[in-house]
């Protein structure tokens, strides 16, 4: 990139040197060199084309604001005028008017004229670029075309002078020149960039435009003056036409710019305000999407309100009602809290700008019915044109009321007012409709942001709870046996699924001694977390007591005693506790209020239902006298099914899975090993409930008795 620029500059220098060489020769020989003239003009044109291409490709000044570029143009044109004036003085009658080529009278003027032409040419190229960029600002369909027409006409004028000697004129050149001037005037109406300037920029633009206009008049006069025009004409007729037309264009354009800026000045402020409003709303809405920094958001809302409405003071209150009003969930603890008149809400001043707590309290006295209550009820903005004369404010005579006006805007969320935005001004009648509109717009954005931030915090909390529940679920799963014991003469299979993350179902198996196995299935009343706590307690008691008591009844009575203390009145546990003799297949069981176990023997199923009330329902004797033990002898091929009511009460519409279906499904699979029977029953329950999620914890323990292969058992029918 840099190398290319060097190439351009080098090329330009080389071309200029060539031109200079030709000039020196021409001067010393004093001859009309004929065809060489065209080569010379071509070289000069080449120089400025290269300059234009260089400036364009480097994008010089492209990104600067129009006013800044005008300022630089002003400096450049001042320098240009000085140089041109200097030239006009020094080159006074320096050219030979008798020579058809208008040759200079010495080498000094030759060099000076060369220098002047180069400076003028560069200046014209730069000015043309600036004018083009200004005229094409916010371009419309025709603007590009108009600029091209002007450029085309300028080049055509320049080209038309190629065959002419310096002092000759032709009508068609003048016509083309005139047309180019018209095109320049047309282009000078393209001034849309002025509209988008800030007020400050417009002021600068006005000054720059004025001086540029003046200086360009001077330049044009100088260009037309005898000495300068001769210097230009001597060097290159086309270049002179080009420079002259660009300066005319500049003259007209900056004149128009000055007048236009002048007319735009009165509306500049309004335009500025609208732009600020738009950009603040835009910034705010960007801020809204990132609900993480609540404080920054409030800060932005208040400072924008100040800035856009030119308010004196501004503050934002958050209104907490209902549960929040108890103060636990307040976003920032260190903020000022005011109670509502009847204590129905809490007011939290979240952000203050240019106003003090005392001033706020003077306007909205603590413990009285204030504008705050009015706006909370009406839910529309309230404008107080004169604070001193407002009856709703004056009655609080104690504090001195400030002078000026006040606007109160509610932050309306879909169901209630979550906050209030206030702005004050020193002057009475300070807030007009558009002020209220823009403050309302800020309030709306703030509402969304506050809601977002609250939702975000809620969802964080929710996620935390979900994680906790997942942990709890994991813990509870570990409370269930990880591995079932292997039996010599039978096999076991079990599963338990909570309806929610955790549940109140429990099963466990303990090896009581060499040939006795304790099997327990329990169901804590209720579901979810509370049930899960009791369930873990039952686990502890089972593990502690089962090995101490040889009879199921003794165990269950002790378990009742142990658990009663920790239960609330409405909670209880239903339990099946069975002790299996793993050698003989003898089962001794108690049922404490639990669903009766299913025994499938051969082709018949029956529910074993010894008497007994649930754990936690009765004390001491009431409980123990209700418990009966029942003994069963398992035979080869028998299946004992322990389960919770999640199985029998699994529902499809109003119908329950029930005891019949349970028995049927076990009968169907009774030839299979325990795990297959379990899968079959679970499949049947699932098929029955179809797609409905299980509404209760569901536990199933299957004992399949294969019998003692030594034939110790006698099959009885």
């Amino acid at each position: 990139m840099k190398a290319r620029r060097f190439l351009y500059v080098g090329g330009m220098g080389l071309l200029l040197l060539l031109v200079l060489l030709i000039d020196v020769i021409r001067k010393s020989v004093d001859l009309d060199l004929g065809g060489i003239e065209y080569l010379r003009e071509a070289l000069i044109i080449g120089v400025f084309v290269l300059l234009f291409v260089l400036l364009e490709s480097a994008g010089v000044m492209k990104e600067q604001s129009p006013v800044k570029r005008m300022g630089l143009a002003l400096i450049a044109s001042v320098v240009m005028v000085i140089i041109a004036f200097g030239g006009s003085v020094m080159l006074e009658s320096a050219f030979d008017p008798k020579s058809s080529m208008l040759l200079p009278l010495g080498y000094g003027p030759l060099f000076m004229a060369t220098l002047l032409n180069i400076v003028f040419g560069c200046f014209a190229v730069a000015v043309l670029r600036l004018l083009r960029d200004l005229a094409l600002y916010k371009r419309k369909r025709g603007s590009q075309r108009n600029i091209l027409i002007f450029a085309g006409l300028t080049l055509a004028t320049a080209a038309a002078t190629l065959p002419l000697k310096p002092l000759e004129t032709e009508v068609y050149v003048s016509v083309l020149y005139g047309l180019a001037v018209v095109a320049a005037i047309v282009n000078s109406f393209r001034l849309s960039w002025i509209v988008y300037l800030t007020k400050r920029e417009k002021l600068f633009g006005l000054v720059y435009g004025f001086f540029l206009f003046g200086i360009f008049i001077g330049l044009n006069i100088l260009i037309q003056s005898v000495s300068v025009s001769r210097a230009l004409l001597y060097y290159s007729y086309p270049l002179k036409e080009f420079v002259s037309l660009v300066c005319v264009f500049g003259n007209v354009y900056f004149g128009m710019a000055f007048v236009s800026t002048l007319f735009h000045l009165p509306t500049a402020e309004a335009f500025d305000r609208k732009t600020t409003e738009l950009s603040s709303l835009h910034n705010l809405s960007k801020l809204v999407t990132q609900a993480f920094d609540f404080k920054e958001l409030i800060d932005t809302v208040t400072s924008m309100t100040l800035q856009v409405c030119e308010a004196k003071g501004c503050w934002l209150e958050l209104i907490h009602t209902g549960e929040e009003a108890r103060g636990e969930n307040l976003l920032q603890k260190d903020l000022v809290i005011r109670n509502g008149k009847d204590g129905g809400y809490l007011v939290q001043i979240a952000g203050m700008k240019n106003i003090s707590q005392d001033e706020i309290d003077a306007l909205l006295p603590v413990g009285e019915r204030t504008l705050r209550d009015s706006v909370l009820e009406e839910r529309i903005p309230i404008v107080i044109d004169d604070i001193q004369k407002e009856p709703r404010l004056r009655k609080s005579g104690r504090a001195t009321l400030p002078e000026g006006s006040l606007v109160v805007v509610p932050l309306n969320s879909h169901k209630d007012v979550i906050g209030i935005l206030y702005a004050t001004k020193d002057t009475e009648h300070g807030f007009f409709k558009d002020d209220v509109d823009v403050i309302s717009a800020f309030a709306d954005q703030a509402t969304i942001a506050i809601e977002n931030s609250r939702l975000f915090n809620k969802s964080l909390e929710r996620e935390r709870l979900i994680r906790e529940m997942m942990l709890a679920q994991e813990m509870q799963r570990k409370l269930l046996p990880q591995k079932l014991p292997q039996l010599l003469y039978g096999d076991l299979s079990a599963s338990s699924t909570p309806a929610f993350e955790v549940g109140g179902d429990y099963y466990d198996i303990a090896q009581l001694d060499e040939h006795r196995l304790g099997i327990i299935v329990g169901d804590v009343s209720g579901k979810g977390v509370s049930a899960a706590f009791y369930m873990s307690e039952v686990k502890g008691i089972f593990q502690a007591l089962s090995r101490l008591h040889r009879s199921p009844k003794a165990f269950i009575v002790k378990a009742n005693e142990a658990l009663l203390g920790s239960f609330d009145k409405r909670s209880f546990i239903s339990v099946i506790y069975a002790i299996l003799d793993t050698d003989s297949g003898k089962v001794l069981m108690v049922r404490a209020g639990h669903c009766p176990p299913l025994l499938v023997s051969r082709h018949k199923g029956s529910y074993v239902r010894p008497k007994g009330m649930g754990i936690g329902l009765g004390l001491g004797d009431v409980f123990s006298s209700s418990i009966e033990e029942e003994a069963i002898q398992l035979h080869k091929g028998d299946v004992l099914v322990l389960y919770t009511d999640g199985v029998t009460e699994a529902r499809c519409g109003d119908e329950e899975f029930g005891y019949e279906r349970l028995m049927e499904s076990v009968l169907q699979a009774r030839e299979q090993p325990a795990i297959e029977i379990k899968e079959h029953v679970l499949g049947a329950v699932k098929a029955f409930t179809e797609q409905q999620a299980s509404h209760d914890d569901l536990t199933l323990v299957i004992l399949k008795w294969r019998g003692n292969s030594n034939g110790q058992q006698v099959e009885v029918s």
Partner: protein
């Protein structure tokens, strides 16, 4: 999901709660409210008519346990009646017949209260 309704009426100083629909963890608070209302106005003689009760869960059963102690302490009682076989089975499985008097007909329960006061 399922509806649950409670009707309250009074006969001879005895309050009858008529339960209708599904009594589970979601609807249990309604029954609790009904009991609380009776107990706060010192009504301790209560018959719960389960004629239209189609389902009761363990949470529903727990409600009866929550109030029986208070009621009996005040020389009252909660008696149950008119249960469908299915609902009775749930009560029976848990051993409620050992704790509560359960009658086939409401008037039997009422008579029991009246006989006792005589």
């Amino acid at each position: 999901m399922s509806e649950f309704k409670i009707g309250v009426r009074e006969t001879e100083g005895i309050h009858v709660l008529e339960l209708k629909g599904y009594l589970d963890a979601h609807t249990a608070p309604k029954l609790e409210e009904a009991f609380t209302n009776l107990l706060t106005s010192n009504r301790y003689r209560i018959v719960v008519n389960c004629k239209d009760l189609s389902y009761i869960s363990s949470a529903g059963l727990g409600v009866f346990m929550a109030y029986i102690e208070d009621v009996r302490k005040n020389q009252g009682d909660i008696k149950l009646s008119n249960m469908s076989p299915k609902v009775y089975n749930v009560f029976d499985l848990l051993g409620f017949p050992l704790l509560y008097e359960i009658f086939k007909e409401e008037r039997e329960a009422l008579r029991k209260f009246v006989d006792k006061t005589k």
